[in-house]
């Protein structure tokens, strides 16, 4: 390990004379792989952040039990983004400046991810996010920013393919007046036309209205087979409450983050029945997912969802990269190994027990993740599959899986 002047001083100040008199080497070997878990534990993303934070702990424990990564135990430092860019930046600064973490993972919400990214890039450490803004693909990140979630750029194609596979030939849009809603409204009609569908109407609504009755009636006017909802949970609850109370019928389709458990509680299971929910799907067949699910089930008595699967992948990819780099925890070294351990070619692996012995003997591995294949492209993006769920008795029930390859994305 090379000591630069700053680290040398810091070691000296912290450890005193013993550190200077030969203790430095011992410290270096025992040094942990420090991971910054920067997830939303409060605010809008609290449900997802808590799941991810729990998964990091479970996997870190599993790896530490068998001796850590190249002799280094994984040490987790947890900060709460509060689903808020300001708090996210404060948390990231603390992780970088005080804890001197080797990687940051778990940022949810594109605003938080993009606010934290410059800090990670400046500190030259990898950041793993679960946000969906297309900007994250093109962000000037010097290849330090990775995401395991899908980009919104593909979501219109996903809806189109979903509608087609469920036999819907006509669709209307009811979308929120913000960049996300308008973007969906602009891109969906073309995608839907490519699979032979027709859009009967597009209604844009403002949030916080005293009534959504006229918007709902307009959206339903063309008698579409399905209505695509492009909003969030809070406005969704108001819109669907009024829709149900109008008694006009119709089938709805929309994203998982709008039709979450809070939404179902808000409008009741009866009104939510039959809604089509589209969300990233875990890579169910992979050993990585099976292991993540086993860990999560044992600790929390719940299936590992897409977010648990993504968190599992973040920590696995970083740990495998450090191991492949013979214990080098510098950001540049980790970055250099990420695609080597997770992309083909190589022997397909999904758990630490499968992968570690192979890497130690110098064999090339291809990590097949719990949330996707985790084959990172030049933008640090992956190709996730999608789950199509129908709400049944207040719960999401998996209807079918749409593979990334089935999408007509161009």
């Amino acid at each position: 390990m090379k000591l630069d002047r700053r680290q040398f001083l810091a070691t000296g100040l912290a450890g005193g004379a013993t550190a200077l008199l030969g203790g430095g080497l011992a410290r270096a070997q025992a040094e942990a792989l420090r991971i910054g878990a920067l997830t939303p534990l409060t605010g809008g993303g609290a449900v997802y952040g808590t799941t991810m934070s729990r998964t990091y702990t479970l996997l870190a424990d599993e790896i530490n039990k068998v001796g850590g990564v190249a002799g280094k135990p994984i040490q987790l430092f947890t900060e709460d983004t509060q689903t808020n860019p300001d708090a996210g930046v404060r948390g990231a600064r603390k992780l970088v400046d005080v804890n001197r973490v080797h990687a940051i993972m778990g940022t949810w919400s594109s605003a938080v991810t993009l606010a934290v990214a410059p800090i990670a890039v400046q500190a030259r450490i990898p950041q793993f996010c679960v946000s969906s803004s297309p900007v994250i693909s093109t962000f000037k990140d010097d290849d330090f920013l990775y995401r395991t979630a899908y980009s919104q750029a593909v979501i219109s194609a996903v809806y189109a393919t979903t509608a087609q596979s469920l036999g819907f030939k006509t669709a209307a849009l009811l979308i929120l007046n913000n960049p996300y809603g308008i973007g969906l409204g602009d891109s969906f009609p073309d995608r839907f036309a490519k699979v032979g569908g027709k859009v009967t109407g597009k209604v844009i609504y403002n949030p916080n209205q005293s009534s959504y009755r006229s918007e709902i009636q307009q959206a339903l006017a063309g008698k579409p087979d399905v209505i695509l909802f492009g909003g969030y949970t809070p406005d969704g609850i108001q819109v669907f409450k009024e829709w149900f109370q109008l008694g006009l019928g119709g089938t709805w389709m929309g994203p998982g983050f709008a039709f979450d458990q809070k939404f179902i509680q808000g409008i009741g299971a009866q009104a939510a029945e039959g809604i089509v929910v589209v969300e990233g799907a875990p890579n169910l067949a992979a050993t990585a997912y099976k292991n993540a699910d086993k860990l999560f089930r044992a600790a929390h008595n719940q299936d590992a969802d897409f977010f648990a699967a993504m968190a599992y992948d973040h920590l696995m990819v970083v740990s495998l990269s450090v191991l492949a780099g013979k214990g080098d925890t510098s950001g540049d070294a980790i970055k250099g190994q990420i695609r080597k351990v997770s992309n083909p070619p190589g022997k397909v692996v999904g758990t630490w027990a499968e992968a570690a012995p192979l890497i130690r003997t110098g064999e090339k591995v291809n990590y097949e993740g719990a949330s996707s294949s985790c084959d990172f492209d030049e933008n640090g993006d992956v190709q996730t599959d999608f789950g199509v769920y129908r709400i049944k008795s207040g719960k999401w029930a998996l209807d079918r899986v749409i593979k990334f390859g089935e999408l007509k994305t161009s």
Binding site: N177, V203, I204, Y205, N206, N208, Q209, S210, S211, R213, S214, E215, Q217, Q218, A221, P234, I237, Q238, K241, E242, F244, Q245, L246, G247, L248, G266, I267, G268, Q270, A271
Partner: protein, 286 residues
């Protein structure tokens, strides 16, 4: 087309009845206390939350919870209004306006502290509508229309047929003369705040019943309620009813011709147009 028009009219009247409960009280207080109480729509929010506390937290059935909630809103709202607007040694409409913005912030943040920022709903199931041709109304929506009409009528009777009503109208006309002639202006103002909070909190409960409850619900209603009051001729409760009806109907009817995302803007254009020809509003004295 006819069916759509009828549907929009029903929706417009429904929106108007919610706005009217806020706008009538706002106009009344403007007429008597002579300043624009920005915190008035927050009294709506207050009523919704006190009712929520009784209904969803304690488990009182909604009807009784609403009564208890209105009483609680009166016990909070009236002293707040008396202290902030009547007792502080300030006069002048601008000072009172700024104070009312402060009151609005305080009310909202107290509610935020106790209830959080999330969306809440009363513990009542969603309802299916009665259908008469193009008219679709749930029992609660019918209740909303009935309660709003009854309360607005009651305000009319109070102002036109009672001694208190005469005093309130007299204060609105000339407060000094009214006081000289021996009317108890302090008590009249107390009654006025009570009426305003009663109307607003009832409106807030009905709003929560139809949509959702959230700390910003009052703030979100400031502009539509003020427009209704101004359009009607601010200071005049009858005008506020008419103003609410115009805003509600124009905003919904406009969606026949213009994308609905502009419907609120259209209502304001209608208001601006009205005021160009009748600067004192629909009911304002010339």
């Amino acid at each position: 087309m006819i069916a759509e028009f009828v549907h929009l009219t029903v929706t417009g009247v429904l929106v108007a009845s919610l706005l009217a409960l806020g706008a009538v009280g706002l106009s009344l207080t403007f007429g008597v206390a002579r300043f624009a109480n920005v915190a008035h729509p927050d009294f709506m929010m207050l009523g919704a939350y006190t009712t929520f506390a009784f209904n969803s937290l304690i488990g009182v059935p909604l009807g009784w919870a609403a009564l208890a909630g209105i009483v609680a809103a009166l016990l909070v709202g009236v002293p707040v209004a008396r202290i902030a607007y009547d007792k502080l040694p300030v006069t002048g409409t601008v000072q009172l306006l700024i104070i009312s913005i402060g009151v609005s912030f305080i009310l909202r943040h107290v509610v935020l502290f106790f209830f959080g920022s999330g969306f809440l709903q009363f513990a009542v199931p969603l309802q299916r509508p009665y259908v008469w041709g193009p008219v679709r109304l749930t029992p609660y929506q019918i209740l909303t229309l009935v309660v709003a009409s009854v309360l607005v009528l009651a305000v009319h009777l109070l102002l036109s047929r009672t001694k208190l009503g005469r005093i309130l109208r007299a204060i609105a006309d000339n407060p000094v003369l009214c006081e000289i002639s021996g009317a108890d202006v302090g008590r009249a103002r107390l009654a006025m705040w009570a009426i305003a909070v009663l109307l607003a909190s009832t409106g807030g409960i009905l709003f929560g019943l139809n949509l959702v409850i959230q700390p910003n619900m009052g703030w979100d209603l400031v502009i539509p309620i003020f427009s209704a009051a101004i359009l009607g001729g601010i200071g005049n409760p009858y005008g506020a009813m008419a103003g609410a009806l115009v805003i509600g109907l124009v905003q919904e009817w406009s969606t026949l011709l213009i994308p609905s995302v502009y419907k609120e803007a259209v209502a304001f254009c209608a208001m601006a147009l009205c005021l160009m020809f009748r600067p004192r509003g629909l009911w304002g004295a010339a």
